[in-house]
């Protein structure tokens, strides 16, 4: 592979690749982790075999990163017609090839349909049509394992512009004017960080990509690193040029094997092309990148802890008397940004600050990627302008709730965030509005909950998570979270005490004021936000031993209605602890002393009978049986 020695070399290569891409049909198959789990590898094999069999040589198959609509994977888009097939199986490939590839016809039962209307083109599907996809735009067209593909889409042109047309100071000014704020959750102005690192006296500086993405329920960074790793690398290069760094690092969690693989390959290809190394594109700028694989610790996503981990120490936070921009990695000035923040940088430098801030609100500019998951119909990755409302995201894009259930809350901000109830569905999603509602933007997890989700259990879930993940270095976090956890675990078991809620609030104050790092100081947020909006549920658990969501095992009981049970025996055969008794063709009964409340009986009871029900409080069952 020849090195690119100038901006002109890069432009020539772009033209060559773009010219080649124009010809013929391209089939873009999502091979992100989600579609991979749904079998995209087998679809790819079937596709390759079918094309070979028919001798279709001018058809290109691209294995791309995540297209976003993970609920309906594997996803296959046929370009240039943009016909988008969902839930594709290997068996359907011959039909797709003969109808669509050879004859331009649509296989109707594989496209999105809503209310009798067909949405064959990718951009028409409501899930995509209501988004504003900038960062994710290229995920549907790029082969992430081929640097030429990225260059063909205009990749690395922003780097060339920065190196040859802008001073480092001008790059920082452009980022400032764009109003870019950190996408990892904090929302700190990126330009301010860069400026501080640039102006630090030490000549050795570092730039780091935070790809730890430890928030459960969030996979934005994973999909960027898997689907478009060069966009992150190009952002890092531009940042390094702006702050004056010659060395950078990707920190990526080991739970993301494909992201690691694609980032490694991207770096190797950039080196071969001369986009990393000495005198990049013939400029005086030299830069190198290493990868550090995380080893599984949520707290290591905290900035100071992450740098400790890169140095080979345990990833525990340090006290930040001195800012990282003055003394970070190995005591040198360091700029650390989240994956998505870095991926925005090339867009800003290529298209300008005004273009960037044309989306979003005055204080939160640009777009943001969210992982829209949980009990919503269309789960997946969505990118919207900052300031879009929760309603637009959950209902217009997400298609509303699954199984006709009622929306209860959406959890944002991961373990540091909170639950936002239905009355705030029209709130704008930006850094400041969400904070005002007692939650936070966080890195972009958006977990939708319905009536079956117990808010006390959700609070308990996050507190238990943080208890496990607290590094234990500072006492308020170690003991405070542990105490909160034992209180909440008592409440969900029906052993809550009347003054528990006051005590939880006291601990919350202690945690927020006395903890060493963000993990502890924000740890009470899930509890406080659920107490704020769902206090009644806590009180029901404590005083009536009732879980209205029927989620807390200790507070529920399963019951077989004798009048509805036909004695088919399905539940009896499936019950793992033999708690169900009864003979064939006569009503069955659950022995409550043996029942472990696994719910298999409810799951297997045919819906035409609907004999098994869940109820709470468990004591209501006794009343029922007396009748």
């Amino acid at each position: 592979m020849n090195k690119l020695a100038s901006a002109q070399d890069l432009e020539n290569l772009r033209q060559r690749v773009a010219e080649g891409n124009k010809a013929g049909v391209t089939l873009s198959l999502c091979c992100g982790t989600g579609c991979g789990a749904n079998g995209s590898k087998k679809v790819f094999d079937a596709l390759s075999a079918e094309l070979a069999k028919r001798g279709l040589r001018n058809v290109t198959v691209k294995r791309t990163g995540c297209h976003g609509f993970c609920e309906r994977g594997p996803i296959l888009i046929v370009f240039p017609s943009e016909i988008c097939y969902l839930s594709v199986t290997p068996e359907r490939i011959p039909e797709i090839v003969s109808k669509t590839v050879e004859n331009g016809l649509v296989v109707e039962d594989l496209v999105w349909r809503d209310g009798g209307k067909l949405f064959a083109r990718h951009s028409e599907i409501p899930f995509y049509a209501h988004q504003k996809r900038r960062l994710l735009a290229n995920n549907t067209v790029l082969d992430p394992t081929d640097i030429n593909d990225y260059i063909g889409c205009g990749g690395y042109a922003a780097l060339a512009r920065a190196l040859f047309s802008l001073t480092p100071q001008q790059v920082i000014e452009e980022i400032r004017k764009a109003g870019l704020r950190g996408r990892g959750g904090g929302g700190f102005p990126t330009a301010t960080k860069w400026e501080a690192t640039r102006s630090a006296a030490d000549p050795v500086k570092y730039v780091v990509v935070n790809g730890d993405e430890g928030d459960p329920g969030a996979y934005m960074d994973r999909s960027l690193l898997e689907g478009n790793p060069h966009s992150v690398l190009e952002g890092l290069l531009i940042g390094a040029y702006a702050v004056g760094a010659a060395q950078g690092y990707f920190y990526i969690r080991q739970e993301y094997p494909l992201a690691l693989e694609n980032a490694r390959r991207a770096i190797a290809q950039a080196e071969e092309k001369g986009l990393l190394g000495d005198n990049i594109l013939g400029s005086p700028f030299s830069f190198r990148v290493g990868i550090h694989q995380g080893a599984g610790a949520f707290v290591s996503g905290e900035s100071s802890a992450l740098l400790s981990a890169i140095e080979g120490h345990v990833g525990e936070p340090r006290l930040k008397y001195v800012r990282m921009s003055e003394s970070g990695l190995r005591g040198k000035p360091t700029t650390l940004n989240n994956v998505e923040t870095w991926a925005n940088v090339p867009l800003i430098v290529a298209k300008g600050a005004d273009w960037f801030s044309s989306a979003g609100t005055a204080a939160s500019t640009g777009t943001k990627i969210f992982s829209l998951v949980g009990k919503v119909r269309n789960t997946g990755l969505v990118e919207v302008p900052m300031g879009a409302t929760l309603r637009q995201i959950v209902f217009d894009i997400g298609g509303g709730m699954q199984n006709g259930k009622t929306f209860k809350a959406v959890q944002t901000g991961g373990p540091s965030g909170g639950c936002i109830p239905a009355q705030h569905l029209d709130a704008k999603v930006d850094f400041d509005t969400l904070a005002g509602l007692g939650s936070m933007m966080g890195s972009g997890g958006m977990i939708v909950m319905d009536d079956d989700s117990c808010m006390v259990d959700v609070a308990r879930y996050f507190v238990d998570f943080l208890k496990e993940e607290s590094c234990g270095k500072c006492l308020p976090c170690r003991e405070g979270i542990s105490e909160m956890s034992s209180i909440l675990n008592r409440i969900v078991k029906g052993q809550g005490k009347p003054d528990d809620l006051d005590f939880l609030e006291d601990i919350a104050v202690l945690l927020s004021e006395a903890s060493l790092c963000g993990l502890g100081s924000s740890a009470a947020n899930p509890v406080m936000s659920t107490l704020r909006y769902f206090r009644k549920e806590y009180e029901e658990h404590i005083f009536q031993k009732r879980c209205s969501a029927l989620a807390c095992k200790s507070l529920i009981a399963f019951h077989i209605a004798a009048a509805k049970c036909t004695g088919c025996g399905l539940c009896r055969k499936q019950c793992p602890v033999c708690a169900i008794g009864g003979v064939a063709k006569s009503a069955h009964r659950i022995d409550q002393a043996l029942c472990i409340k696994c719910g298999v009986c409810l799951e297997v009871c045919p819906s035409k009978f609907g004999a098994v029900t869940k109820m709470s409080p468990a004591s209501s069952l006794a009343n029922l049986q007396k009748q």
């Binding site: 982790t33 996979y219 997890g445 959700v458 499936q574 472990i596």
Partner: protein, 156 residues
């Protein structure tokens, strides 16, 4: 060191050499050894400490701090149940209970035939497919009871 000892650590040495024997790469070395051997034996930790000139307690500090490392021998295949938020609200705890009963072990345990070790993880980033499990590096979305039996049968 005897010949036997040398061959026992050949793999570990190869990994250390790949990183140029540099101390700062300790975590990366441990990750690679863990991946190859599926666990970190006391002997291998001692060997790594010696080679990198790092005190043994520091190696243990790292090996016990991070979740990725196991100081006990694991089964031939790893069954990982995701307990991320999205999986949690879609029933991951119940799925974990069922799998745990099927394998006859609690989280962290290895089945008596040595085939499977059951693990939990806070998020695998497959949130849209929740609840999700992984067996080694293959992912499965919300397997039913009978799916799970069939899937397990594929692993010897």
């Amino acid at each position: 060191m005897t010949d036997d000892g040398a061959s026992a650590f050949a793999l570990v040495d190869k990994i250390i050499n790949r990183y140029g024997g540099e101390r700062g790469t300790l975590i990366q070395i441990l990750l690679d050894v863990q991946k190859e051997n599926r666990w970190l034996s006391g002997e291998s930790l001692e060997h790594i400490a010696e080679r990198l000139h790092v005190p043994l307690p520091r190696v243990y500090e790292i090996a016990t701090f991070y979740k990725a490392f196991s100081l006990t021998e694991r089964g031939r295949h790893l069954v990982t149940v995701c307990l991320g938020t999205a999986c949690h609200v879609r029933g991951a705890p119940t799925l974990l209970d069922r799998i745990s009963r099927k394998l006859g072990v609690k989280s962290g345990g290895t089945s008596s035939d040595g085939r499977f070790t059951l693990l939990t993880v806070n998020c695998m980033g497959c949130c849209a497919l929740g609840p999700v499990i992984a067996i080694d590096e293959s992912y499965f979305s919300n397997p039913s009871n009978s799916d799970f039996d069939r899937i397990l049968g594929q692993y010897k």
